[in-house]
Structure formats: structure tokens, C-alpha cells
């Protein structure tokens, strides 16, 4: 006991306590109870209750006996478990599911009425049921609605009728009953409910009020503070989620397409196997028959208006084989296009693979190996040969964006090919896949031998090939070729300077290239120049050759192609705005469509016109020139110019030479022109652009006045400007260029401010102070009498306003 006197150390919870059994401790009695050293832990009970008799008894019993004695338990009120009607009450059985029960939170609220009928109600129900049928549930729903609709104030009978969808008699009966019962009811409601707190705090001490809301005043303020930020966050969240959804959908689509591709590939392989086509011959054959283009080693992308009437979605020559190819090569190059299916379709239709099957298979394999799971199915492969301009282009080849609401058409297959030499392919294909001498418009130069193909979205891709002639070819000035191209080929004028175009024919003499040129001239060597320069911005669309497909050697064909060009130009003017041009190549497509339409009609006429009227040709050339000019200066103008002349020309040559001389610049629309116009109009996006182009062309023409040749050619473009530029007017009148154009221009031009500016510039150049461009435009607008222009008029007016500003 003496040990009691010393103070034990505090109990350390982290210190190991050795465990002794009773038998190990002979001197256990010497142990000191630690009660003094270790603070007694509270029991955790209320003090008064701790002393309760039964508890103490139980505790002491436990202390003594180490287990509960029956008599020492704490007594509690009795409970009985003999409800004998239990089985009748709870009918049916419930089988324990194998799985753990999981409950869906929203399944919990069912629409069942909270009100439960009692026997009193049952009596009423029985009574009512003599006259009509009313089910208990129906009754409960009625009472439930009445109860829930009324607070302290009972609902009136009228309200009850609105509330209950029963017949009046029943409502009346139930309502009366309910009112009576409610009055006799001691509680606030026939549906017993826990008493709710009142906001005034008057119920704070009411023992029957339960489950009060936990409101913390501080918190509300905090919340309010965050409101705006959190709202924005929510918005952002929502946006991101929807984006995620879009992405996922696209992925889904992509994966489906991939699967399809795989299946098709398999199918092809199987078919080939069945056919015994182990060497790829059959495949090749098929491919050749279907394909019109080749793949070349060095693809260069040309953004051009290779827009064809063929809708992208409906490839003309769907072919499995081509599919693969595209997938492996082309597809990857063009990542820009978000719409993969389209792209694929394009590719499939237009890109025949020259290679033999095995090669194709390889590519397929590659594709699947490396790209199948890629986010971007078509990762952009930098084109091996990229023009410096292209590389410098800040927007790069990707500048093109499809626009919503625009239709993109696949390049025309029939036009898509040119030709030539140096094919690794079989002789068969030689014609098809020949490389030809090619000139680019914007980096105005000859790039030597190349072949063109059309990529997704109608862009032209140049595959270059090196030959021993390269050094010589580099010296070729595209202008030298212009003459040839115009005459012999359908080549467009890529030159920026109209005069060069005009003189191009004459320039052919240059010595260093004479041989080549002569070859070209004699059509021994094909040479290609992009016709339409609409796109040719250094930024996005240089190097585009308008009409890739015009490989035909014969003059006739070329003429036809010219016509096409014109039409296409028209289309362009209608569809593409220069300003927007970089972003809106799509419009070019539309123009092409128009061209094609016209082409069919007017090929002959054009041809004849060309032959008969050299001037006309010249003019066409000049038109092209003007386009190029525009592109160089402002890409759009060119296209506009082109477009203007075309319809005018064709018409002029044949019918309209009589000349609607548009003295005022207001040209009476000829029938054809009207049609064109209407078509243009149909192209929704086009008008603004075309207007711009027109204006620009005007400017050119004015500058070009000095050169007679140009003058002749220019007039066509000018007519459009007539209103603005008197000078131009005179020249233009001859060619009758285009009432159509004018109309188009006016309407389209109105919207684009740049066009207006250009017009002003042109006007200044013309030194015709009288007419301000704005007025000219407005006048034009005024003069448009065609019903279609209605919208345009509005636009024109607005433009005027803009100009003023």
C-alpha cells in the first residue's frame, strides 16, 4: 500500500502495455490501481441518469458476475409480437433478390395519394357506389388533392371542381363529405403531417415541430456572393459538356466510318481472293476504269476553285480500292475538314490509285496501325512540296473553313485529270496520269511538270515531278504560256497583269524556252495553268488552277473549257467574295456549278465566238487576266471580273452583239443573263463577294486603258462598272459584257464595304469625278428590276450607307 503514495506516470497511449495473465502475477495484489493516475473517463451519460437504479444494479451485476444476469437487466416496457392479422395485412411474399438491393432515388416518389381512406370513408364510398362507381384509390386521390390544395382555408367547391376531374355530382358529394370531415378533424389536415416550423420563429420551442431546416444565416450571404461566378461556371460547364457531346458524336461517326472502311477492305480482299487476283491486276483494271487521277509522289495542295458539279457526298465512282488509297494518303493530308465522311467520299470518288493492290493494302495496314485510334483520323500530313508562299502563309493550307449553309461539291471528275508523261503506271494509264507543265498563278511561276488532282473540298493538289528540264522550265514565265493556254488549252490566266496576258502570245518567242514553248504551242507538250485565280491568295489559296480538268488538247475543247471558265467565273462572282475568299472557297464551287450548266449550253457558241471574234478570245483572256489581277491585288476582284465577262461574252457573241450598251451602266438583262443572275441569286452566299470582285475588276480595267489589247478584253469586265466608270462604259458596251453581271454585282456588291472602296478607287482612277461609286452602285441597285433582287436592293442601300460612313 505504500506504493499508493507515489504518483504514477500518466498513461501513455503510445506506450506498449505488457499483458499479464492472472496466473503470471503472483504479486498482483501489489499492483496499484491506476485510478488515481489515469483520469477517470466519463461514462458519457447524463449525470442524473447515471444514478438510475436499474442501471446501477445492472452495472454492479456485470462487475460482479462478468455477465448479465437475467434479473439484472434494465426493465423496459413490454412489446408484443402477436399481431395475428399480420399475414392478411401484408399480403404476398417477397423473394429476396440474389443481388444486393439498390434503389433508384427517383423511383421513390410514386404518384400515389398520401391520403389513406379510413372506415368512415369506406362507408361513404359504399353509399356512393350505389349510384356511381368510385374506387377507393380514386376517392383517395380526390381527398388528397383537396387536402393539398387547401391550407387553413378550405378550397371552395368551385376550386374543387377545377381540381378534380370527376363528374359534378361525385365532386359535390365528396367535397361536402370532405368539408364535414375536415371540420371534425382535430388535426390541421386529414393527412396527418408533422408540424412544420414557422418562419417567424414562433415554433422554436414547440415540441411537436420537428425536422426544422438548418439555416445558417452566414451561409446565405456567402452563397449570394458566389452566385455570379458560379452561374458563369455553370454556363461554361454546360458549354463544355455540349462540346464533349459533339466530340463524342463525331468520334462515333468516325469509328463507324472506320469500321465500314475495314469491312469494305475486307470485302475487297475477299473478292480478290475469290477472283484469284493475287497480283493486283484485276484490281488495277477496275481502278483504272474508275479512276481518273493518279497519285503522285509529291502532292502539293492547291487551293483552287476546282469545284465541280458533282456533289461530294455522291462520289461518282465509289470504289473500295480508291477508298483505301485515299485513306492512307490523301485523307491524312487534309485534316482541315471536320467532315470526314465527306472527305472520304471525295477521295474515294476522285482519287484512283494507280498503284497496285499490294501497295494499297500496305497503306491500309499502315493506316490501321497508326491511325485507327487516333483522335484525328486524318492527321494533316504536310505536303512534301510546299511552295514557299504556302509555307509563309500564316493561315497555311488550313485557312479554308467550310461554312455552315454552304454546299460543297466534289470536283468534276471529267475535268479533273490532266495528263502526262512520266507515269510509273502502266501504259494504259499514261494518258490519264500524265504530268504536264504547270504554271501557278499566284507564285507566279512555272513549277515544271506536275500533275493535278483534286483533293477534299475540291482543292487542287499538284504532284510535282522532277525532270531534267527543270532548270529550263523554271525560267518559263507563265505569261509566255498564256497565249498557248488560252488558245490551245483551257488554261486559265494566272497572270496578275492583264497586259502580260494580252502580250503573252507574243512573248512565246523567248529563246531559252523557245523549244519548250514551241512544243507547247504545237500541243506536243501540254502545259497547264490554273484558269481561275479566284483563290490565289498568298495566304490561303495560291497555286490554284481553276480548271484542273481541262487537259484536252483540242482547241475546241479548250474553247469549251473557256466557256466553262467563264461560267465558272460567273459562278464565282456569284458565290465567292474576295474578302472572305480565303475562308469561302465554297462559293467558288457554286459558281462552277453554274459554269457547268452554262457550259453545256454554250460550248458551241463560245467556240464559235472565239473563232469568229478573236477579240472575244482576247477578251476572255483578259477576263482571266483581270481575275488574276484581282487575285493578286485582291483575290476576289478577279473572280468577279471573270464571272462578269462570261455570260456577257457568250451572249454577246451570239445574240447580243447588238449590244445592250449599258450607257448608264445599267444593263438590261438578257434572258440568259437573267438565268445566270437567278442562279447566282440562288447562291446565297455569293452575292457579296461577286460585287467586290466586280468593283475590283473595274479598277483594273481603268488602269489597263493604256493597253489597247487589254482594252478590248477589259470592256467586258467594264460593263459592270459602267455605271460607275464612264470610260469603262464605252469599252464595255461593245462586249455587252453583262447585264447579268451588273445585276449580280450590284446586288452582291452592296454588302461588302471593300467593294465599295474599290469602286471608289476605280472611280478616282477613271478620273470621272461625276459619279461616285456609291451613287453608281445605288443607281445600279435602283435599276434592278427583277423580282429576285428585292433582297439585294436592301443590301445595296445598306451598302450605300456604309459608303457614306
Amino acid at each position: 500500500m505504500s506504493k499508493l503514495s507515489f504518483r504514477a506516470r500518466a498513461l501513455d497511449a503510445a506506450k506498449p502495455l505488457p499483458i499479464y495473465r492472472g496466473k503470471d502475477m503472483p504479486d498482483l495484489n501489489d499492483c496499484v490501481s491506476i485510478n488515481r493516475a489515469v483520469p477517470q473517463m466519463p461514462t458519457g451519460m447524463e449525470k442524473e441518469e447515471e444514478s438510475e437504479h436499474h442501471l446501477q444494479r445492472a452495472i454492479s451485476a456485470q462487475q460482479v458476475f462478468r455477465e448479465k444476469k437475467e434479473s439484472m437487466v434494465i426493465p423496459v416496457p413490454e412489446a408484443e409480437s402477436n399481431v395475428n392479422y399480420y399475414n392478411r395485412l401484408y399480403k404476398g411474399e417477397f423473394k429476396q433478390p440474389k443481388q444486393f438491393i439498390h434503389i433508384q432515388p427517383f423511383n421513390l416518389d410514386n404518384e400515389q395519394p398520401d391520403y389513406d381512406m379510413d372506415s368512415e370513408d369506406e362507408t361513404l364510398l359504399n353509399r356512393l357506389n350505389r349510384k356511381m362507381e368510385i374506387k377507393p384509390l380514386q376517392f383517395e386521390i380526390m381527398i388528397d388533392r383537396l387536402e393539398k390544395a387547401s391550407s387553413n382555408q378550405l378550397v371552395t367547391l368551385q376550386e374543387a371542381k377545377l381540381l378534380l376531374n370527376e363528374d359534378d355530382y361525385l365532386i359535390k358529394a365528396v367535397y361536402d363529405y370532405w368539408v364535414r370531415k375536415r371540420k371534425n378533424c382535430r388535426g390541421p389536415s386529414l393527412i396527418p403531417q408533422i408540424k412544420q416550423e414557422k418562419r417567424d420563429g414562433s415554433t422554436n420551442n414547440d415540441p411537436y415541430v420537428a425536422f426544422r431546416r438548418r439555416t445558417e444565416k452566414m451561409q446565405t450571404r456567402k452563397n449570394r456572393k458566389n452566385d455570379e461566378a458560379s452561374y458563369e461556371k455553370m454556363l461554361k460547364l454546360r458549354r463544355e459538356f455540349s462540346r464533349a457531346i459533339t466530340i463524342l458524336e463525331m468520334i462515333k461517326r468516325r469509328e463507324k466510318t472506320k469500321r465500314e472502311l475495314l469491312h469494305l477492305t475486307l470485302e475487297v480482299v475477299e473478292k480478290r481472293y475469290h477472283l484469284g487476283d493475287y497480283g493486283g491486276e484485276i484490281l488495277n483494271e477496275v481502278k483504272i476504269s474508275r479512276s481518273e487521277k493518279e497519285l503522285y509522289a509529291t502532292p502539293a495542295t492547291l487551293h483552287n476553285g476546282n469545284h465541280h458539279k458533282v456533289p461530294e457526298c455522291k462520289p461518282k465512282h465509289p470504289h473500295h480500292l480508291s477508298l483505301k488509297e485515299e485513306a492512307s494518303d490523301v485523307v491524312r493530308q487534309k485534316k482541315k475538314y471536320p467532315k470526314k465522311p465527306k472527305a472520304e467520299a471525295l477521295i474515294t470518288s476522285q482519287q484512283p490509285t494507280p498503284e497496285t493492290l499490294p501497295v494499297i493494302n500496305k497503306s491500309d495496314i499502315k493506316q490501321y496501325d497508326f491511325h485507327s485510334s487516333d483522335e484525328d483520323e486524318f492527321p494533316q500530313v504536310p505536303s512534301p512540296v510546299s511552295e514557299p508562299e504556302e509555307e509563309n502563309d500564316p493561315d497555311g493550307p488550313c485557312a479554308f473553313r467550310r461554312r455552315a449553309g454552304c454546299q460543297y461539291y466534289a470536283p468534276r471528275l471529267d475535268q479533273a485529270n490532266h495528263s502526262l508523261e512520266n507515269s510509273e503506271l502502266a501504259d494504259l494509264d499514261k494518258l490519264r496520269y500524265r504530268h504536264c507543265l504547270t504554271t501557278l498563278t499566284v507564285p507566279r511561276r512555272c513549277i515544271g511538270f506536275a500533275r493535278r488532282r483534286i483533293g477534299r473540298g475540291g482543292r487542287v493538289i499538284m504532284d510535282r515531278i522532277s525532270t531534267e528540264h527543270d532548270p529550263v522550265l523554271k525560267q518559263i514565265d507563265p505569261e509566255m504560256l498564256n497565249g498557248f493556254s488560252s488558245s490551245s488549252q483551257t488554261i486559265d490566266f494566272s497572270s496578275n497583269f492583264s497586259r502580260t496576258n494580252a502580250s503573252s502570245k507574243h512573248c512565246e518567242n523567248r529563246l531559252s524556252l523557245s523549244e519548250i514553248l514551241s512544243n507547247i504551242r504545237s500541243c506536243r507538250l501540254q502545259c497547264f495553268q490554273p484558269r481561275i485565280l479566284n483563290v490565289q491568295d498568298s495566304d490561303s489559296e495560291e497555286c490554284t488552277s481553276r480548271k484542273p480538268g481541262q487537259t484536252v488538247n483540242s482547241k475546241r475543247v479548250s474553247a469549251a473549257s473557256v466557256a466553262l471558265l467563264n461560267t465558272s467565273k460567273n459562278g464565282i462572282s456569284g458565290g465567292i467574295t474576295e474578302e472572305q475568299f480565303q475562308t469561302h472557297q465554297q462559293q467558288l464551287v457554286q459558281m462552277q456549278r453554274q459554269q457547268l450548266a452554262q457550259l453545256q449550253q454554250k460550248q458551241q457558241s463560245q467556240h464559235s465566238s472565239q473563232q469568229t471574234h478573236p477579240k472575244a478570245q482576247g477578251s476572255s483572256a483578259s477576263d482571266c487576266m483581270s481575275k488574276t489581277l484581282d487575285s493578286a491585288s485582291a483575290h476576289f476582284a478577279a473572280s468577279a471580273v471573270v464571272s462578269a465577262p462570261v455570260p456577257g461574252r457568250s451572249e454577246a457573241s451570239k445574240e447580243q452583239n447588238t449590244g445592250h450598251n449599258n450607257i448608264n451602266g445599267v444593263v438590261q438583262p438578257s434572258g440568259t443573263s437573267k438565268t445566270l443572275y437567278s442562279t447566282n441569286m440562288a447562291l446565297s452566299s455569293s452575292p457579296g463577294i461577286s460585287a467586290v470582285q466586280l468593283v475590283r475588276t473595274v479598277g483594273h480595267t481603268t488602269t489597263n486603258h493604256l493597253i489597247p489589247a487589254l482594252c478590248t478584253s477589259s470592256p467586258q469586265t467594264l460593263p459592270m462598272n459602267n455605271s460607275c466608270l464612264t470610260n469603262a462604259v464605252h469599252l464595255n458596251n461593245v462586249s455587252v459584257v453583262s447585264p447579268v453581271n451588273v445585276h449580280i454585282n450590284t446586288r452582291t456588291s452592296a454588302p461588302s464595304p471593300t467593294a465599295l472602296k474599290l469602286a471608289t478607287v476605280a472611280a478616282s482612277m477613271d478620273r470621272v469625278p461625276k459619279v461616285t461609286p456609291s451613287s453608281a452602285i445605288s443607281s445600279i441597285a435602283r435599276e434592278n428590276h427583277e423580282p429576285e433582287r428585292l433582297g439585294l436592293n436592301g443590301i445595296a442601300e445598306t451598302t450605300v450607307a456604309m459608303e457614306v460612313t
Binding site: 447524463e46 412489446a79 399481431v83 399480420y86 401484408y90 439498390h102 400515389q112 417567424d200 414562433s202 426544422r212
Partner: protein, 546 residues
């Protein structure tokens, strides 16, 4: 100093002892007070016959909490002193030993007929010690109590139209003053009121205290007394009227109202069982007069009659608690119910549980709690056996808020199973936990028993390594069992296992301890199998507000 309610009915005032102690004078039904039974009023103490579990008659001292008159027959609600409230009951006067009756001390002089008794019985014996002890928690309490009492009184007073009102109000301002006390008491004369307010048929016209209290608690005291000083009193007291917002148990006296001190539900039918509630539960007041409250066994919805229950069962297709099953072994399953997502079930469960848990508070909503309901399966469905609630986030390491085994299932090991399960959850969470306080008597016994068995299991399972004596730290025990360190220590103390021997603390397992444990473990057949638990704790702190 608690005022003793004088038996004299109708007396305008009484002299309260201590303000702090002031409990509203018991609802003194004039009739009751003057009745032949000898002026038995609320607050009187006298031996009352009671039969103990050994079926022997006892005459423990009891306090009259309320008097009611049913069809001419008086019934007295008695609380047996030093017995748990759950044994309180209505008795007829035959069971009262009037010879030994003690009237509330001071009340004798100042008869107050206030219908509302104080929160605590005004028994003289109790008063004194209470006041003396008051140092600890009692001190603050008195004020509240006064408040409360006043409220009911006022309630009564108003209808009574007694002039005392102003007095009471003024008095209220200074609770500790005698005068105040008196004034407060003064209010009481409202005795007649009860009859006027007397609700309905159930109670005869002479409204008894109970009627007054129980039938009308719904009225807003404040609203009634709005014009009076009640409010000011409230504010002057500066005592928060609302309990703390965390936890589900009330350890202070904020709910120690006469209303809540009395059972209000006679009987509850739940499935096969008929339960006699132990404590007050705030079921809708209009249901408290029913002889039996019918509960749907599965959704726990309450109905007035068997017919209602029948009708309800045609619409309720639940056959298990509406939560996710997270444990199943044999017929025992546990369901987890989110107090925010499934309010109606949670509230119904709380209402039911309150019938058996004295200190449980239903003051606030159930949002911050999870409810783990233990069920036993038979062909009819998953029958609720017990449950415990748990705060989603506890700042004080509580892993259980309320825990209850329904009476029909008590003393069969289910309680320990519930406790064991709660610690299993804590183990999964990687925390130690402790039940929220205060514990009830049964809670304390159960927990102690669980702790003892769990700790002894570990201690006895330790093998000596390499001949050395096995040893273990308290922290280790705590980590293994998830029992909070303090509970480990208290258990070791309680079992007298910790001893100081030769300069260090040791744990000694005496033979009777070991034997007792082994015997107990033999009986403990129901165990939680942690392999059957499919539980992923959630981090509620990241979900904003529960």
C-alpha cells in the same frame, strides 16, 4: 428552490424558490387538486405501486407529472424517481400511497394552478440537491427552464385573462429574482383555462394538465404571448432557444419540457409487433390520442387506423427500407439511407426511434445524417430490427449518432451487432469513432459490453513472441478496432485491466475476466462478417452541403 406548486387550486400566486429552478407549476386541475385522492397535483411525490421484473410489488417513490380524468376516473402520470423515464406510466389512484405524499415544497403556500408543470418535477428532495449541484450544468439551465415554464403558463394565462400577465412578464426579466418567480407563478392561475381549451371528446371537461399540455402544445407560445414580455424575456435570457445544429442528441435541457417528458403515444403497431413507446415523439398531435398508431412496416408511414394502414399497403410496394443494401449475411441485411435524399423515410424512422430514445432530438432535419437500417429477412420482406444514424461529417469523431434496437428484438444480440457494424464502417473509413453523447443507460451497457468483448478478444488473442510477454499499445487497440482511444481507456479502466506494476502500466487479465469473456463470447453468435460488407465511404465534405 424550485417552487413547489401548492396544492391549493386557483391560488393566484405561489412563491417560487429559486428562479432558476422554477418549473411551471404542474397543471393543477382544480378538480384533481381538490379531489378526494387528497389534492394530488403535479409535483407531488409519493410511493407508487409498481411490479418489478421479478413480479414483485414495490413501492418506489414517484412523482406525479400529470393528472388526467377519463370518464370520471382520474389517472396520474407518474415518474418513478431514480428509474428511467421509460417506466413512467399512467396509474390509477389505487396505486398511490397517499399516506406518504409529499407536496411540492413551496407550492403549498402559493397555490398555483397553472396547468403546466415545470420541466422537472418540483419535488422537494430533488430541488435541493439540484440547486446545490447546479454549479455544473444546472446553472445555465434554470433560465431556460423558467422560460419554458413561463411559456406554457402564459399560454394558459392568456385565455384565462388573469391580470397576472403583466406581472409575469415583468418578472420574467429577472429570472433569479424571487419576485419574478412569483410573478411567473402568478400566471398559473389560469387553471380554469384548460377546460376551455380542452380539446375534445377524449378528455372530459375538466381539462387535465395533460390535456392542456399535450393537446395544445401546438400553439405558439410566442405567438400567444407576443404582446407580452415573453419575447423580451427570451432575449434577455440570452439563451439560444435552438439546440446545436450538429448531432442528433440533446444533452442539455432545452427539450426538457413537461410535454416532452411524457409519453404521448400509447401504442404503435409495426408489422407483427405492438410497441409501447418509452418516450415522447413528435408524431402529429392529432394522432397522440389514438389508442394505437399504425405504422407501415416497410416505409414506416403512420396512419390512424388499421383501415388506413390497409389502404396504404395497397399503394406501398416497399418490402425493404428504401435504401441501398450494403451488407447481407444470412437473413441480416443493412440498408443505407441518405437523410437528405429520402426525407420521408428518414423522418418516419426518426419519429419511431424517438419513441425509444430519450435524448434524441428531432429539432432539425435529417439532411446531415445517414441511416443504417438493420433488417431481418423473411418471406414477407426485410423487417426492420434496428438502426443507427450517423453524421455524414462529424467534427467530433462520432461514428454513431443514434442507435436503437427495436424493443421486440432487444436483448438478443442485435444491439451489439449494430455497434459492431458501425465500427466496421469506421474501419472501412479508416477512422476511429465513438458514439455521440449522451449515452442512455442501455446504450452505455451495450457499448461497454461491446468494447469489453472487442478489446478482450484482442488482448487474449495476442501471442507471446519469442518468449516475451505480449504487449500492445492503446493506440494499436484503437487502430485495430476503430474504437476511439478514450473509449479504449475507459473500458480498460472499467474492466480494471490497467494496473501500475513495477514502474510501468500493465494490462492484467484476471481469470474471472477471462472466464466471463469466454462465456459471453459463447453467447455472442451474431457477428458482422466484414466480407459481406459492400461499402464505399463518401467524402461528404466535397459535396457541399451534405
Amino acid at each position: 428552490m424550485a417552487e413547489v406548486v401548492s396544492p391549493v387550486p386557483g391560488a393566484g400566486r405561489r412563491e417560487p424558490g429559486e428562479v432558476g429552478r422554477a418549473r411551471g407549476p404542474p397543471v393543477a386541475d382544480p378538480g384533481a387538486a381538490l379531489s378526494p385522492q387528497g389534492e394530488i397535483i403535479e409535483g407531488c411525490r409519493l410511493p407508487v405501486l409498481r411490479r418489478n421484473q421479478d413480479n414483485e410489488d414495490e413501492w418506489p417513490l414517484a412523482e406525479i407529472l400529470s393528472v388526467k380524468d377519463i370518464s370520471g376516473r382520474k389517472l396520474f402520470y407518474v415518474h418513478y424517481i431514480d428509474f428511467n423515464k421509460r417506466l413512467d406510466e399512467w396509474v390509477t389512484h389505487e396505486r398511490l400511497d397517499l399516506k406518504k405524499i409529499q407536496f411540492p415544497k413551496k407550492e403549498a403556500k402559493t397555490p398555483t394552478k397553472n396547468g403546466l408543470p415545470g420541466s422537472r418535477p418540483g419535488s422537494p428532495e430533488r430541488e435541493v440537491p439540484a440547486s446545490t449541484q447546479a454549479s455544473g450544468k444546472t446553472l445555465p439551465i434554470p433560465v431556460q427552464i423558467t422560460l419554458r415554464f413561463n411559456l406554457p403558463k402564459e399560454r394558459e394565462a392568456i385565455p384565462g385573462g388573469e391580470p397576472d400577465q403583466p406581472l409575469s412578464s415583468s418578472s420574467c426579466l429577472q429570472p433569479n429574482h424571487r419576485s419574478t418567480k412569483r410573478k411567473v407563478e402568478v400566471v398559473s392561475p389560469a387553471t380554469p383555462v384548460p377546460s376551455e381549451t380542452a380539446p375534445a371528446s377524449v378528455f372530459p371537461q375538466n381539462g387535465s394538465a395533460r390535456r392542456a399540455v399535450a393537446a395544445q402544445p401546438g400553439r405558439k407560445r410566442k405567438s400567444n404571448c407576443l404582446g407580452t414580455d415573453e419575447d423580451s424575456q427570451d432575449s434577455s435570457d440570452g439563451i439560444p432557444s435552438a439546440p446545436r445544429m450538429t448531432g442528433s442528441l440533446v444533452s442539455d435541457r432545452s427539450h426538457d419540457d413537461i410535454v416532452t417528458r411524457m409519453k404521448n403515444i400509447e401504442c404503435i403497431e409495426l408489422g407483427r409487433h405492438r410497441l409501447k413507446p418509452w418516450y415522447f415523439s413528435p408524431y402529429p398531435q392529432e394522432l397522440t390520442t389514438l389508442p394505437v398508431l399504425y405504422l407501415c412496416e416497410f416505409c414506416l408511414k403512420y396512419g390512424r387506423s388499421l383501415k388506413c394502414l390497409q389502404r396504404h399497403l395497397t399503394k406501398c410496394d416497399l418490402r425493404h427500407p428504401p435504401g441501398n443494401e450494403i451488407y447481407r449475411k444470412g437473413t441480416i441485411s443493412f440498408f443505407e439511407i441518405d437523410g437528405r435524399k429520402n426525407k420521408s423515410y428518414s423522418q418516419n424512422l426518426c419519429l419511431l426511434a424517438k419513441c425509444f430514445l430519450d435524448h434524441k432530438t428531432l429539432y432539425y432535419d435529417t439532411d446531415p445524417f445517414l441511416f443504417y437500417v438493420m433488417t431481418e429477412y423473411d418471406c414477407k420482406g426485410f423487417h426492420i430490427v434496428g438502426y443507427f444514424s450517423k453524421e455524414k461529417e462529424s467534427t467530433e469523431d462520432y461514428n454513431v449518432a443514434c442507435i436503437l434496437t427495436l424493443p421486440p428484438y432487444q436483448r438478443r444480440g442485435y444491439g451489439k451487432l449494430l455497434i459492431e457494424f458501425s465500427y466496421e464502417l469506421s474501419k472501412v473509413e479508416g477512422k476511429t469513432g465513438t458514439p455521440e453523447k449522451p449515452l442512455s443507460d442501455l446504450g452505455l451497457l451495450s457499448y461497454r459490453s461491446y468494447w469489453s468483448q472487442t478489446i478482450l478478444e484482442i488482448l487474449m488473442g495476442l501471442k507471446s513472441e519469442s518468449g516475451e510477454r505480449p504487449q500492445i499499445t492503446i493506440n494499436e487497440i484503437s487502430e485495430i478496432t476503430s474504437i476511439k482511444k478514450e473509449d479504449v481507456i475507459s473500458t480498460l479502466q472499467y474492466l480494471n485491466l490497467i494496473n501500475y506494476y513495477k514502474g510501468q502500466y500493465i494490462l492484467t487479465l484476471s481469470e474471472d475476466i477471462v472466464d466471463g469473456h469466454e462465456r459471453a463470447m459463447l453467447k455472442r453468435l451474431l457477428r458482422i462478417d466484414s466480407k459481406c460488407l459492400h461499402f464505399t465511404p463518401k467524402d461528404w465534405s466535397k459535396r457541399g452541403k451534405w
